[in-house]
Amino acid sequence: SFVAGVIHPWRVSAFERLLWRACRGYLVANFVEMPEPMEDPATGESITWVIFLISYWGEQIGQKIRKISDCFHCHVYPYPESETSRADTMNGLHSQIQDLSVVLEETEQYLSQVLDKVMLALPTWRVQVQKMKAIYLVLNQCSFDVTEKCLIAEVWCPVRDLTQVQDALRQGSYKSGSSVECFVQRIPTSESPPTLIRTNKFTAGFQSIVDAYGVASYQEVNPAPYAIITFPFIFAIMFGDVGHGLVMFLFALWMVLYENSPSLQQGSNEIWQTFFEGRYLILLMGAFSIYTGFIYNECFSKATVIFPSAWSVAAMANHSSWSSAYLATHPSLTLDPNVTGVFQGPYPFGIDPVSVPWDAGWDLQLVARSLTFLSPWQIWSLATNHLNFLNSFKMKMSVVLGIVHMGFGVLLGVFNHVHFQQRHRLVLEFLPEMVFLLALFGYLVFLIFYKWIKFSSADSRVAPSILIHFINMFLFTSNADNLPLYQGQVVPVQMVLVVLALVSVPILLLGTPLYLHCRRHALKPGHAGPVAVEEQEALLDGQEAGNSVNASKEDVESGGHSPDAKHVDFSEIFMHQAIHTIEYCLGCVSNTASYLRLWALSLAHAQLSEVLWSMVMRNGFVRLSYVGGVVLVPVFAAFAVLTVAILLVMEGLSAFLHALRLHWVEFQNKFYVGAGYKLCPFAFAPDSWE
């Protein structure tokens, strides 16, 4: 009789030994390893089993063997005695194997067919599932009504789109075939609504830089339309260079012209995405930089000569008889505008090329050769004292532009006062603010312009210093050496202006609180209800309130709060107004000084580009032979890389940041509150609800 089975290969030796000991040799055991490994049904491992065949005599030995093989977890299979039955079993097993493999094959084929079909439909399913998930997220925010049969949602909706919403609801109920129609109804609320500002692809960039500081409060004036131009302009003041501006403009133009190509839109790099979304911003920044570059007369730090320079060396040399010997002993000489014929009128467009720096230390022969290709008047870009003039010009320019910008900011506050029906603030806040700003800093602007127009080189020895006059104006003193700019400057005019400014401060401080206090006292006897206009922020009446569907639960996004008790203390209003007054008055001074960064950064940019030219590019022109032509190529490559990296990227980011700062702080703190929150309408765009 036989016992046949399979055993785990690791247990073979132990099995054999035990068999031998237990059966005392009354058996013949044969062990053969399987040709290929098979999977263990219990553990799933792939093991090369060992097949064994034991032939024995006697019933007891047979039982022992079976028990032992049981212990060793062998799989035992029936082994027929006769040869023919063994052959039959073999055939049967073979056919079974064949059948099973056919079945497996068919199953695999079917599976792959099904998976192929699913693969085609999978993206649609994914989108559908996501959409359903989003819809359920929103539905979860609704609440059930009393009858538990319908959902109620409270939403914010722009008044202009109300009919659209009603249409959409009607269509929806029609399409879904329900018997009951969805409807929308306006309900009054005292919460402050979210802010919705509609933008297109051009204005979105500018709106986002305003929103980055603070979303506009409900219905207050939006600084973004003005920032579309003033932001690139202030950037350009700090970045003024025709060449750099042109490169920036062309880069942005490329992005704008190809904005619909998917490869540009789906950039994975976050930094690239930032640049791409600001493409219109960069376009305008580049365009204005070209303009200010022309006015500063800088093109890659070189001056262009559109019109002939206004300064004549010949006239000066003739007047002062500069002979060759004289020149040899004097390394540098100044052209005196007092001498007739030396200065022939202001350069019509921008800075005279004589005031733009020239490289130091050129070989004279080199100068001669190179200048044969250029206009003879290019030589005028070589004053060594160019910074004296440029500093004075840029400092005054920064102050003038800063005061104009801030004055414009105060002016924008008028829109707010008128819109929120707070006309008392026109007289009690806008007027004193404007008087303070104009009496002191508007007067400074006037002094600057007056000195430019009235004083020339004839009285350059005794030209008054505006700064000293300004300081003395506040201190009510005067310097004997500092002549007045015009008759009657110190005594009537400046004194009156300072007194006006000083008077406007207490009006600003006490005006609004006292007015509100008196108003509440006047109303108190008769009214128990809310006094609508007490708060500095506008309260809303039912008309402007959010339109809502019937409801109890609110939109998760709402950050508004119900305005609290009507008893706002006089002390609180007064404190608020005191802070505002101090902030405004001190701010006027410090913010004016802050605008001097326009000067600082434009100077830094000009100097950086000059250094880059003189230290990098100029070395490419040293040899004027054919070798020099070959040398020029790597030198230009280095110059181009450094220009882009340092001057365009680094200086561009720096000027961008400072222009942003000037807008956010110095300009917007004159009128902007920015305490609102954005309307986030439901949309199927994934990033809003995933």
Binding site: I229, V313, D336, S355, A383, N385, S392
Partner: protein, 82 residues
């Protein structure tokens, strides 16, 4: 030979140009949803650019001092070109 720059001509020209951009052009902006924004942009840019140019030309109108030149270039210009 040097050309004398007049002061009046550039002032008139540029004032006229930016006046056209800032005052006349807004009337010709076609009606549409962006009319307000475009008018704001025109006026703001006219004011900014004009003011900037005006400051530049006024600062140079009556210079209190002249440019200081190196003797090499003075020699070069004086004796070679003029």
């Amino acid at each position: 030979a040097m050309t004398a720059h007049s002061f009046a001509l550039p002032v008139v020209l540029f004032s006229a140009f930016w006046g056209l951009v800032g005052i006349a052009a807004p009337w010709f902006v076609p009606k549409g949803p962006n009319r307000g924004v475009i008018i704001t942009m025109l006026i703001t840019s006219a004011v900014c650019c004009y003011l900037f140019w005006l400051i530049a030309i006024l600062a140079q109108a009556n210079p209190l001092f002249g440019p200081q030149l190196k003797n090499e270039t003075i020699w070069y210009v004086r004796f070679l070109w003029e």
